[in-house]
């Protein structure tokens, strides 16, 4: 009671935040869970059907196809969107000219600001077989026949992975650079006094000191890999759908296009549980609790 009196104002300030999460996060979550156990109709009775929706989803070959696509594309994005910005951040850290460093950061960051609708439009145009710059280079420089990248299922997953990496690279790069900046300069001074080369400073000072930032970035990326949707929705077409349709596309098709909300909610909860499992694994593997 004494604490309540002492910190009453603070508790009061927390009320809107808690209310926000209850109304906009946990309540829909609980309703979604309820829906996954119902023969859900838009109006009228909605009888409970036990695990029938989960059973239907698990016996749907399209769900498993989407699962494989999600793991392949999500895994690829997780890997590339971790390594690429790390390499660039470390490289930029070695650049001495500030103007170049800032310019490079800005250019790298811009795609993060654009929506997938814009990014998708740009790359559909750039990869076009008749007027896209990529094919123009292939044809005029390498004398190769144009490739319809976005209509060829052999390239589809790679395109999803690389475009996502390209789009988010600048953002993650800034996180890494912020981590690098916060490293105590005396560590570098000590290393230099011990005769460490630039490479040794990088491997023995920068990377170990950056490990906590790397753990946070990796965990944040892990939380997102099963939720890929926008880029697939924008860039997919029927010829590559079987290689790129991810779990969220499956949920979208079941829920919005087929109006089968029970199975859609069940599929969503599979995503939820898988995300939870993946997060726990990553936390354990990276010893995240020591951050």
């Amino acid at each position: 009671m004494g604490l309540l009196k002492k910190y009453g104002a603070l508790y009061l300030m927390m009320v809107p935040v808690i209310a926000y999460f209850i109304v906009f996060a946990y309540y829909p979550l609980v309703k979604g869970l309820q829906t996954s156990f119902q023969d859900y109709k838009l109006m009228g009775d909605r009888p409970y059907v036990g695990f029938a929706n989960y059973d239907a989803v698990l016996h749907d070959s399209l769900f498993w196809e989407a699962m494989v696509n999600t793991l392949v594309i999500g895994g690829g994005i997780l890997l590339f969107s971790f390594i690429a910005p790390l390499v660039i951040a470390l490289s930029l850290n070695e650049v001495l000219r500030t103007w170049f460093k800032k310019m490079a950061q800005m250019i790298l960051y811009v795609p993060h600001l654009l929506s997938w609708v814009v990014v998708g439009g740009i790359w559909i145009f750039m990869l076009s077989p008749d007027s896209g710059i990529v094919n123009m280079i292939l044809v005029h420089v390498f004398h190769r026949a144009p490739i319809n990248f976005l209509a060829d299922s052999g390239y589809a997953r790679w395109i999803m992975i690389l475009l996502s990496t390209w789009k988010e690279m600048g953002y993650t790069c800034i996180l890494f650079l912020a981590g690098i900046v916060s490293i105590n300069p005396s560590l570098y001074e000590a290393a230099r006094m011990d005769g460490a080369t630039r490479w040794q400073q990088l491997t023995y000072v920068t990377l170990p000191q950056l490990s906590n930032t790397m753990k946070v970035v990796f965990l944040l990326n892990t939380l997102g890999i099963l939720r890929i949707f926008d880029q697939v929705f924008i860039l997919r077409n029927p010829t590559i759908a079987s290689k790129v349709d991810v779990l969220m596309m499956y949920t979208f098709q079941k829920g919005i296009l087929e109006i089968k909300l029970g199975p859609a909610a069940a599929a969503s909860f599979f995503v939820l549980v898988l995300t939870l499992a993946l997060t726990l694994v990553v936390r354990r593997m990276t010893r995240f609790d020591e951050v």
């Binding site: 979604g32 838009l42 109006m43 759908a241 919005i256």
Partner: protein, 485 residues
């Protein structure tokens, strides 16, 4: 354990984005099936206010097409409904993601009195899910709607459920799709309108190779589509109809039969020879239209109404343009039959939880009378058009809005087009009336469509041998129990 709970909380919050807001109410409405007396302004003149204003009638409408073109004009549109019918209407017209909005609204128990839809497959699902009010007594008892001159009797079949009950009312007349050709290019190259597959090939090849736009560059294509949207006019040559076709009580998909193989091979030949726009797999319909309007392609496959829109758009940009779009008939099959596609109609439903079904019914009757049709086509008096005696004149705003506020075309034969139809539209609609039929979308079509499109587009673009593509398409459809034979 504490860590696990903390992790679960984190993931739960993040995962909220995965889930749609499924908060719901069991929406039921005892008044849903009651029938109000028909409105009394069925024969009113174009801009004549309601004879007897509807007392306290409110109406909440969710639609994709009907209303003003801007939020400001939408407000005026609502006021015009009030002036003409006495109904205090509120129109919500989402800028995008209309289907999601409808679903979210219905699922969350929001109460609309009228919802506009344009997908018969979705209508059937909504009927199954208890969303739709039975309008049988209302439609059959309405002097306006039961008049065959207002809506042809045969058309109502589209809006009946499997038990023969009327479950929706038309919003406008919907036409069909077909090949649309640059007639001025045909004339310039001395070519006749193609009738057979070989003639089509020759025309398309000439569009590619003979510099029809006269700019001295090899930068034109013969044909562009937006994936399989809509190649029915060509597939007609092989006698195959898109989507499902019931054959002796069994589900078949003719695009997945051997009969379709020569057509996929024909398209692959066009692609291989550079006659077809290579982006057709990734095109949306907007890109396809832009290619046609910008002299990059000589033929596209699109809606009848767009024949006029194409001509009008170019005419407005350049009054001296020679640009002339013209609709072509599909190619006859071996038995002489031409298969063309009739589009799903645009229609209104009254949701079962509507709070003002009487106002909704009054509005539906008004919508099919001259004042309603004038509002839905020309727009708002003194905003989109002015009227002196019987003569209409479009304002600059009206010209910009292209006489389309949700009803560019209508069924009611008693209501004449004040400015006639845009050039080429009537001829295109005549072809639809003569040859086009609706497509049959059965449950499971979204899954089947993915398979059909995947293999069909691979065959058409030359990534896969057409015979092999059809074989795999058929096997996969059969394996997933999406067809019966």
């Amino acid at each position: 354990m504490r860590k696990v709970w903390m992790t679960m909380s984190t993931v739960a919050v993040a995962s909220t984005m995965l889930l749609s807001g499924c908060g719901t109410e069991n929406g039921t409405n005892d008044a849903a099936n009651t029938n109000a007396p028909a409105g009394n302004n069925a024969t009113a003149g174009a801009n004549v206010p309601a004879e007897t204003p509807a007392a306290d009638m409110k109406l909440r409408i969710l639609d994709a097409n009907v209303g003003g073109k801007t939020p400001e004009e939408n407000t005026k549109f609502q006021a015009e409904i009030k002036r003409l019918t006495g109904i205090d209407a509120s129109i919500e017209k989402p800028a995008s993601d209309y289907d999601q909005k409808v679903l979210t609204a219905l699922g969350s128990g929001e109460k609309y009195d009228l919802i506009e839809l344009s997908d018969l497959g979705k209508l059937a699902t909504f009927v199954d899910q208890g969303v739709v009010t039975d309008l049988t007594d209302f439609v059959t008892g309405s002097k306006v709607l039961s008049d065959p001159k207002v809506v042809p009797t045969a058309e109502w079949g589209q809006l009946k459920d499997k038990d023969g009950k009327f479950v929706a009312v038309f919003s406008k007349f919907q036409g069909g799709t077909m090949p649309i050709v640059r007639k001025d290019w045909l004339d310039k190259l001395g070519l006749q309108e193609p009738k057979t597959l070989d003639e089509y090939y020759n025309v398309l090849k000439a569009f590619k190779e003979k510099d029809p736009d006269g700019n001295g560059k090899n930068d034109t294509y013969g044909l562009s589509t937006s994936d399989l949207y809509d190649i029915q006019g060509f597939m007609s040559a092989a006698g195959v109809k898109a989507h499902y076709v019931m054959k002796d009580g069994k589900r078949t998909i003719p695009y997945a039969t051997e009969a379709a193989v020569p057509m996929y091979a024909w398209f692959a030949k066009l692609v291989k020879e550079g006659i077809m726009d290579p982006n057709f797999v990734t095109n949306d319909t907007g890109k396809m239209r832009n290619l046609f309007l910008s002299d990059r392609v000589g033929m596209v496959t699109y809606w009848d109404a767009w024949v006029g829109m194409f001509n009008n758009t170019r005419k407005q940009a350049d009054p001296n343009t020679k640009f002339q779009a013209e609709a072509l008939e599909g190619i006859p099959g071996a038995d002489g039959t031409i298969l063309m596609r009739r589009g799903d109609p645009d229609f209104w439903i009254i949701p079962a939880n509507a709070e003002h079904p009487d106002a909704a019914k009054k509005f539906l009757e008004f919508w099919h009378t001259e004042p309603g049709i004038t509002l839905g086509s020309l727009g708002i008096e003194n905003e989109d058009y002015t009227k002196e005696g019987d003569a209409y004149k479009l304002t600059p705003t009206g010209t910009e809005h292209n006489m389309d506020h949700g009803v560019p075309f209508w069924y009611n034969q008693n209501v004449k087009y004040p400015f006639g139809k845009l050039p080429g539209v009537q001829e295109a609609q005549d072809l639809v009336t003569k040859n086009a039929t609706l497509e049959l979308s059965l449950p499971g079509w979204p899954d089947a469509e993915k398979i059909v499109k995947n293999y069909a587009l691979k065959a058409m673009s030359g990534q896969m041998d057409p015979a092999e593509a059809v074989k795999k398409m058929h096997e996969e459809l059969l394996g997933k129990k999406l067809i019966d034979e």
